[in-house]
C-alpha cells in the first residue's frame, strides 16, 4: 500500500473545489478530517506542521491564518493540503506532507504571495530565505549512503545542492578501497522543502524535515 493510501486522502486539496470560495476549504477539511487521522498523528510525530514557505512563527501563524485556502489554490504541484479536525486549532490550515508532495520552491513563491492575511510572508522574494524546517537524517543505520552504497538521492535532488546538502567522503574501513559518501545537511542553508524526504528510496524515509531547533546563544565567534 502506498503511503498516500495509508494516510488517507481527504480530497480537500482539490483545487477545483476550492474555487468555490472561502468557507469551502474549512468545510472540506472538516469532512475530510474524518479519514485523515493517521496523517495527523504522523504530523504530530514529526513534532510540528510543515507549513508553506514564508509561514510566520507557528503561534502567530495560527492567529493570522484565515483558513482561506488561497495558498492551496495557487500551488502548481498540489503540495499544500489542509489540516483536518484532528489538528485542533490547526484545522483548515495549510500543511505540506513531503512524502506525498514536497514543496518544489517555485521561484516566485505563489503561495506566499497569495496569502491575504500575513500568515505567509507575501514579501518573501528568495527561495534561499525560506525556512520551513530542517532536514535531518533520523535513521543513520538505514541510510544506504552511510552504509557505503552510492545512493545520495537526497543530495542529488536537493534544490540547494552543495549548499543545503553536501557530500563528505570518508574512508570505508570495511572495503578498504572505497569511500563512504555521507550526505551532510547544513542547517543554515536548508529551507525544509522536503524534496529529500520525498525522494529517499527507503520504505520509511531516513531523512525527514523537522522543526528547526532554535539557535542557542553563546559568545563564541565561530
Amino acid at each position: 500500500m502506498s503511503e498516500r493510501e495509508q494516510n488517507g486522502n481527504s480530497g480537500c486539496t482539490r483545487r477545483q473545489f476550492l474555487k468555490g470560495g472561502v468557507g469551502v476549504p474549512l468545510a472540506m477539511a472538516l469532512a475530510g478530517g474524518m479519514v485523515t487521522v493517521p496523517f495527523l498523528k504522523r504530523a504530530d510525530a514529526r513534532g510540528f506542521y510543515l507549513r508553506p514557505p514564508g509561514a510566520v512563527d507557528e503561534k502567530r501563524f495560527l492567529g493570522a491564518c484565515i483558513r482561506c485556502g488561497k495558498c492551496v489554490n495557487v500551488c502548481p504541484y498540489d503540495s499544500i493540503k489542509l489540516a483536518g479536525p484532528d489538528a485542533g486549532v490547526s484545522i483548515g490550515t495549510p500543511v505540506i506532507r513531503p512524502r506525498e508532495e514536497p514543496c518544489y520552491l517555485c521561484p516566485d513563491l505563489p503561495c506566499a504571495r497569495a496569502c491575504p492575511s500575513g500568515a505567509l510572508d507575501s514579501g518573501l522574494q528568495e527561495i534561499e530565505k525560506v525556512r520551513m524546517g530542517t532536514a535531518v537524517i533520523v535513521d543513520r543505520e538505514n541510510c544506504l549512503s552511510l552504509r557505503g552504497l552510492r545512493c545520495e538521492v537526497c543530495y542529488s535532488n536537493c534544490p540547494l545542492i552543495d549548499k543545503a546538502i553536501t557530500i563528505e567522503a570518508r574512508h570505508n574501513e570495511r572495503t578498504g578501497v572505497h569511500s563512504i559518501m555521507e550526505p551532510v545537511i547544513h542547517r543554515e542553508k536548508c529551507v525544509g522543502c522536503g524534496i529529500c524526504e520525498k525522494t529517499c528510496v527507503r520504505e520509511k524515509p531516513v531523512i525527514v524535515v523537522q522543526k528547526t531547533p532554535p539557535k542557542l546563544e553563546d559568545h563564541y565567534e565561530f
Partner: protein, 768 residues
C-alpha cells in the same frame, strides 16, 4: 526486501562459508543460506560496465533479495542505488510473458511455434527475394557472451550476412577504433587497480560520480588516503563529478581535440617527453583529414595512414599553441600549460579516464587516439597506477559486443571479416564453408536503421536493446520501421518499450539470472552466473530464440550442443589466445571474475607490461605485441581539430548534450519499473544556465521548448539541479520513454567508428 545490517552480515557469512565448502562454486542450485530458506547465487550486476558482483537471493522460485557481493573484487559488497534495487527490475507488473503478433493495430497472443514459424518464413522469404543482406539483427552490450556468439555465428556463418550490429556501436565503437588504430588490439591495458595506485586522474567527458558510481567512490578513497592525489575534470557541463574534482576545466564542445593537441604541443615544445620510450615503443602516423560526418545515407570512409617522423609530428603540433587552443576551447592558456606539465610530471602517476564525451563524438576515434598520444609521449602507460582507461556503459559491451564479433566488420577476438585468414579460422571453428562468411562489412548501426528506412533491409530482429528510443535522429528511424512494404520488425524484450510498440512480432525474453550468463566488464574481467529462477509465463531465453530460428532456417547444425552455454564458450575460446586468452568455463564458475589474458592459471592486470603480461618477454619492459604490422609499437597519430557536424548558429543558438543520471540506466526500461527510482527521478528535465533562462523568460520548474532541425520537445526547466549547464548549453537525460530527446539528436557519426555524436547538436530554446 531491504536487509538489516545484521541479516546482511549473516547472509554474507553463509554465502562465504558455502563458497569455501563448495570450492567457491556459487550456483543458486547449490547454495542454501543458513536462514530463511533463501538460496544465494553470484552474478554480475545487470546494469553498467563496472561489473559489480552481487549475490542474488532466491526463495520459492523468485528473487527475493540482492546484495553486493563482499567477495567481488570490483565492488567488495557495495552497489549503487540501481544495483541496490536489482531484485525489483524483473518484476514490473507489465512484464511480457506471451509471444505477440501484430494484427492491424493490435498485438495478439500467439504460441511460440506460430511465432517462430512466422519469423522463419519472413527470413526465408526475404533472403530468397532480396538476398541475405536484406535480413539483420541488432543486438546489445547486454547480450550474454553466448547470445552474442550465437548471433554472430548464425548471421555470419549460417545466413551468410554481416548484417549484425550491437547497440555498442552507439556507445563504445570509438573506443574500439581508438584501441585498434593505436594498439591493434581492443580493450584497455590497465584495470581498476589503477584507481587505487595512481595519483593524478584526468577525467574527459565522464560523469563518473553518477555513471560509474562504485568506481568513483574508489577513486575518491584514493584521494582520501593520499593528499597528493589530484582529480581534474574536463567537461562541457558541471556535474557531480566536477563538484568533487580538485579542478573542473570547462571547455567548448568539440575542442577536446584541440586541447589534447595543445597538451602534446607543450610536452614536445618543452621536451617533457620520454625519449627512450618513444624510440622503443612508438611510431608516428597521419591519416586523412576533413573526413566528413556521415550525414548522407551509405556514407563510406577509408583512412589512408601515412608514416610520419617525430619531426613531422612536431610540425603538425606547431599550430596548437596554448594561445590558439585557448581561443578555440575557452580554457585559459595558463591552465593548458599547467595541465601539460601535470601530465608530463615524472614524479606523478597519471591516468586518463573517459566515457561517452569522447566516444559519442564525430571525431571519436581521433580523440581516443589523441589521449593515447599524450600517454605514449610521456611513457605513462602499461604501468600499475599509470594508464589511459576507457570506461564502459553496458555490462558486456566489452565481453560480448566487442569480443565475440557482433559488429558488422568483426569476427570473434579482434578478428575482422576483411582478413581472409581470419575468415578461414572462423569458418574452420564454426565448421562452415569459408565462402559463407562475406568479406565485406555491410551496415553499422546508424546505416542499418537507414537501410531499414530505405527498404534495403526488410527483416530486422532487435534483441536486448531499445533502439527506437536510443537511436539518434529518431523520428526518421521510427517512421522507417513502420513503412510496411515487406518490412518486418521483431523485438525480443522483457517489457513493453518504445521499440516493442513498433514491432510486428514481440518475443517475451528471459533476463539476467533467469538464464545462465556471462558478461565481460571494462577491465577485461569475465564473470559467469547460473540460472537461478525461471522466467515468468512463457518468456524464453534469447539464446534459445536464436538457436530456434537457426533450426527453422536449416542452420541447426551450427548449434549441436547439449549444454549450449558451456560448449559455446569453449568453442569461442578456440578463437582466443595470443593475448586474449580466456580461462576454461569452469574457472569462471569458481571465480568472482577473471581478467584476460588468462595464461597458466593466472589473470593479467596490466597488458603489454613485463612481469604482468605473460606475452611480454623478460627485458622488453613494455611490448605492444599485438601491433605486428608496426613491429610491436603503438601509433601516435597526427589528428587535427575539426569542428562538430552541427554548431550553434543564429537560428539554433544552443548546444544540446544528452546523457544519464545516477537513478536510471539507459532507456529506463528496467529502472523505470522500480517505484523507488521513479520517485527519486521521475521525468527527464532540461538543464539550463540561469542567465540563459533569465534572458528567455524561463523560470525554474517552467516549461521550455527545445527545437532542433529534426524535432522538438517540451520539458521542465531545471536551473539548479545536480548538473549545471554552461552558458549556451542545455542537457537532457535520455532515459525517459515519454520524452524522446533523441528525436532532436543529429545522426552524424565518426567516419572511422560509425558512432553517432549524441553530445553535440544545435537547438533553439524557447519558453513554452
Amino acid at each position: 526486501m531491504p536487509l538489516s545490517r545484521r541479516d546482511f552480515l549473516k547472509a554474507s557469512a553463509a554465502a562465504a562459508a558455502l563458497a569455501a565448502a563448495t570450492g567457491g562454486r556459487l550456483g543458486a542450485t547449490e547454495v542454501e543460506a543458513a536462514e530463511g530458506g533463501i538460496r544465494w547465487g553470484k552474478a554480475p550486476c545487470r546494469f553498467c560496465g563496472t561489473g559489480c558482483g552481487v549475490l542474488v537471493g532466491v526463495s520459492n522460485g523468485k528473487i527475493v533479495a540482492t546484495k553486493g557481493d563482499p567477495a567481488a573484487p570490483v565492488n567488495k559488497g557495495l552497489n549503487c542505488i540501481k544495483g541496490y534495487f536489482l531484485s525489483k527490475v524483473l518484476y514490473g507488473k507489465d512484464r511480457l510473458t506471451k509471444p505477440l503478433i501484430r494484427k492491424g493495430n493490435r498485438m495478439v497472443e500467439a504460441s511460440w511455434a506460430e511465432e517462430m514459424e512466422l519469423i522463419a518464413s519472413k527470413f526465408k522469404e526475404s533472403i530468397t527475394k532480396h538476398g541475405p543482406d536484406s535480413v539483420a539483427i541488432f543486438g546489445s552490450g547486454q547480450w550474454t557472451v553466448f547470445e552474442g556468439y550465437a548471433a554472430a555465428k548464425l548471421f555470419k556463418g549460417g545466413i551468410g550476412t554481416n548484417n549484425i550490429e550491437p547497440n555498442a556501436r552507439f556507445c563504445m565503437a570509438s573506443a574500439v577504433t581508438g584501441f585498434m588504430t593505436t594498439f591493434a588490439s581492443d580493450e584497455p591495458m590497465g584495470c581498476y587497480d589503477d584507481l587505487d595506485l595512481g595519483d593524478t586522474y584526468f577525467l574527459w567527458g565522464a560523469n563518473m560520480a553518477e555513471c560509474h558510481p562504485v568506481l568513483f567512490s574508489r577513486l575518491i578513497d584514493n584521494r582520501l588516503k593520499n593528499p597528493n592525489v589530484k582529480i581534474i575534470d574536463f567537461g562541457t557541463r558541471h556535474t557531480r563529478t566536477s563538484q568533487m574534482a580538485d579542478k573542473y576545466i570547462r571547455f567548448n564542445p568539440q575542442t577536446d581535440l584541440a586541447l589534447l593537441n595543445g597538451i602534446a604541443h607543450i610536452i614536445v615544445r618543452d621536451k617533457l617527453y620520454d625519449e627512450n620510450f618513444i624510440k622503443k615503443h612508438v611510431v608516428f602516423k597521419k591519416g586523412k583529414t576533413n573526413i566528413g560526418y556521415g550525414l548522407e545515407d551509405k556514407f563510406k570512409f577509408a583512412d589512408d595512414p601515412k608514416p610520419l617522423t617525430f619531426d613531422e609530428y612536431r610540425e603538425f603540433l606547431k599550430p596548437y599553441t596554448p594561445e590558439y587552443v585557448a581561443k578555440l576551447s575557452g580554457v585559459p592558456a595558463k591552465t593548458i600549460e599547467e595541465v601539460a606539465k601535470l601530465y608530463a610530471d615524472k614524479s606523478r602517476k597519471v591516468n586518463s579516464l573517459w566515457t561517452m564525451g569522447f566516444n559519442q563524438h564525430v571525431r571519436g576515434t581521433w580523440v581516443n587516439n589523441l589521449v593515447y598520444n599524450v600517454h605514449l609521449l610521456t611513457g605513462k602507460i602499461c604501468k600499475p597506477g599509470e594508464n589511459p582507461m576507457s570506461l564502459t556503459g553496458q555490462p558486456s559491451a566489452c565481453g560480448t559486443a566487442r569480443e565475440v564479433g557482433t559488429f558488422t566488420h568483426r569476427l570473434p577476438a579482434d578478428m575482422v571479416v576483411t582478413n581472409p585468414e581470419h575468415r578461414a579460422k572462423a569458418a574452420e571453428i564454426w565448421g562452415v564453408d569459408v565462402k559463407k562468411i562475406p568479406e565485406k562489412p555491410t551496415y553499422h548501426a546508424t546505416e542499418m536503421f537507414r537501410a531499414l528506412d530505405r527498404g534495403d533491409i526488410k527483416v530486422l530482429w532487435v534483441q536486448v536493446t531499445n533502439p527506437f528510443q536510443s537511436a539518434p535522429n529518431l523520428s526518421r528511424y521510427r517512421k522507417g520501421a513502420r513503412k510496411g512494404d515487406g518490412r518486418f520488425v521483431i523485438v525480443s524484450d522483457i517489457y513493453p518499450t518504445r521499440s516493442t510498440e513498433l514491432a510486428d512480432v514481440i518475443l517475451p525474453s528471459a533476463s539476467w539470472v533467469e538464464k545462465e550468463g556471462f558478461f565481460g566488464n571494462a577491465e577485461r574481467r569475465g564473470q559467469q552466473w547460473f540460472k537461478m529462477v525461471d522466467p515468468p509465463g512463457e518468456a524464453r531465453n534469447d539464446l534459445w530464440q536464436l538457436m530456434e530460428l537457426a533450426r527453422r532456417l536449416g542452420h541447426g547444425k551450427l548449434f549441436p550442443y547439449k549444454y549450449p552455454e558451456k560448449e559455446m564458450f569453449e568453442e569461442y575460446r578456440r578463437f582466443t589466445g595470443g593475448g586474449k586468452d580466456l580461462a576454461p568455463y569452469d574457472a569462471y564458475v569458481k571465480a568472482r571474475g577473471l581478467r584476460w589474458p588468462y595464461v597458466n592459471g593466472k589473470e593479467t592486470l596490466w597488458r603489454y607490461a613485463e612481469g604482468h603480461d605473460p606475452y611480454v618477454k623478460t627485458g622488453e619492459g613494455v611490448k605492444f605485441y599485438k601491433n605486428k604490422a608496426n613491429d610491436g609499437r603503438a601509433v601516435i597519430w597526427a589528428r587535427p581539430y575539426e569542428p562538430a557536424a552541427e554548431v550553434p548558429d543564429r537560428q539554433y543558438p544552443f548546444w544540446l548534450c544528452t546523457g544519464r543520471v545516477l537513478e536510471h540506466w539507459h532507456t529506463g526500461t528496467m529502472t523505470g519499473r522500480v517505484p523507488e527510482l521513479k520517485r527519486a527521478y521521475g521525468a527527464a528535465v532540461c538543464e539550463l544556465h540561469p542567465e540563459d533562462a533569465k534572458k528567455l523568460g524561463i523560470k525554474q520548474g517552467g516549461k521550455v521548448k527545445l527545437t532542433s532541425r529534426r524535432g522538438s520537445i517540451v520539458l521542465t526547466a531545471d536551473l539548479r539541479g545536480r548538473g549545471k549547464a554552461e552558458k549556451g548549453n542545455v542537457f537532457v537525460a535520455f532515459f525517459d520513454e515519454n520524452k524522446l530527446i533523441n528525436e532532436l539528436c543529429i545522426d552524424a557519426y565518426c567516419p572511422i567508428s560509425g558512432e553517432p555524436d549524441y553530445k553535440k547538436c544545435a537547438v533553439k530554446v524557447e519558453k513554452a
